[in-house]
Amino acid sequence: APVAPEVDTMMLAKGYLRNFYSLETELRPSFRRKITDSVSEKLRKMQSFFGLKVTGKLNNETVEMMKQPRCGVPDIGE
């Protein structure tokens, strides 16, 4: 079934944050709340790095930035 756009965008965002901001992969459903906080925290880090408005939420300009072709080396951490 076609993925709804917002789900597609969230998948893009999680993949991006995993690759470049060391977002932990979702270990167990019980950690879902913790993961959501972590996504928001990683989004803040990414928005701050790129000089975007730091909201911790996925907005257009953040998604646009994530779609840019780039280097595969993480922006923070190892």
Partner: protein, 367 residues
């Protein structure tokens, strides 16, 4: 700039590199040249030397890789992640991998191999990503004129923090990204585009959305790779949803990020006399379909519907807009005309033909 955690660096200054394989997108000689020049970007500013070897284990092994290539960091197909590199160290340390599924070129089409290789080698030498959008170590790809490439000052500072200064008698310097709130900031061109405001300066572009406080600075080439730096005038044709940019005696028309076929053209095709060599500023009044061009102390009016200059022009700027001298940039917003000159901008009411107020050029940025 940012150094990689733990400040890894090479223990020696004489390093070796090897090109393991080639991309079918480019002639092997062009790949060799692009990579050689990418090393020179760094050896020009720090006391490192890079010698190419044809076999055996080099410090920096460079290769084109496909999808999952065994280092735990697979590529995912065209665009997205273009390449990656490993920090200084033994074995895979320093190595550079290019995603074979990208289109590699030696110009502004696809992804320029020299630009990407020079960036990745920054990692191979110990640099992490820099948040400075004008720096080479900025994570996102942006085409830059490779014939006239100068390593930005941010990157020079970073690599010299690791390996010390160059041994050349004169220390190399590079371009610095202008400060958004620099009180002396002036602009080459200003224009609206689909509800945003774009401010051009050298290689840089600020994007400002009226409802968003933050201002984003980028390289112009991030949006329009085919465009040279140093734009001198720009305006939006709202009716046609086109964006028109001027440099010297040429102009480009863009639809989104693609240049419309047949451009650039000469400005004289708009109706300027031969003695006009460049445009200082332009704005288009979406209500009347008239576009105003400012050249030295005069201005022309162009009718977008008839596609020709109106009779009775040029006129003296001072006769309508007052004593504002040469206009650097201009745009229309909420019915007012904003004329930028140096560090200032004049807000003009075209209905009352009065100057409303004089502001700092950076008043649109929340400084």
């Amino acid at each position: 700039y940012v150094l990689i955690d733990g400040n890894p660096k090479w223990p020696r200054n004489d390093l070796t590199y090897r090109i393991i394989n080639y991309t079918p997108d480019m002639r092997p000689a062009d790949v060799d040249e692009a990579i050689k020049q990418a090393f020179e970007v760094w050896s020009n500013v720090v006391p490192l030397t890079f010698r190419r070897i044809e076999d055996g284990a080099a410090d920096i092994m460079m290769s084109f890789q496909y999808r999952d290539h065994g280092d735990g960091y697979p590529f995912y197909g065209p665009h997205g992640t273009l390449a990656h590199a490993f920090q200084p160290g033994p074995r895979i340390g320093g190595d550079v991998h290019f995603d074979e599924e990208e289109t590699w070129t030696k110009n502004s089409r696809g992804y320029n191999l020299f630009i990407v290789a020079a960036h990745e080698l920054g990692h191979s030498l110990g640099l992490a990503h820099s948040p400075d959008p004008g720096s080479l170590m900025y994570p996102n790809y942006a085409y830059r004129d490779t014939k006239d490439f100068h390593l930005p000052q941010d990157d020079i500072n970073g690599i010299q923090a690791i390996y010390g200064q160059s041994l050349q008698p004169v220390q190399p310097t590079g371009p610095s990204t202008p400060g958004t709130c620099d009180p002396n900031l002036s602009f080459d061109a200003v224009a609206t585009l689909r509800g945003e405001m774009l401010f051009f300066k050298g290689r840089y572009l600020w994007r400002k959305h009226p409802q968003i406080r933050e201002t984003e600075i980028n390289l112009i080439s991030q949006f329009w790779p085919a465009l040279p730096a140093g734009i001198q005038a720009a305006y939006e044709n709202v009716e046609k949803d086109q964006f028109v940019l001027f440099k010297e005696d040429k102009y480009w028309v863009f639809k989104e990020s693609n240049v419309v076929h047949g451009y650039p053209k000469r400005i004289h095709q708009l109706g300027f006399p031969k003695n006009v060599k460049r445009i200082n500023a332009a704005f288009s009044d979406k209500n009347t379909g008239k576009t105003y061009f400012f050249v030295a102390n005069k201005y022309w009016r162009y009718d977008e519907n008839r596609q020709s200059m109106d009779e009775g022009y040029p006129r003296n700027i001072i006769s309508v807009f007052g004593k504002i001298g040469k206009v650097d940039a201009a745009f229309q917003h909420d019915g007012y005309i904003y004329l930028f000159h140096g560090r200032k901008q004049t807000q003009f009411d075209p209905n009352t033909k009065q100057v409303v107020r004089v502001l700092k050029s950076t008043s649109w940025f929340s400084c």
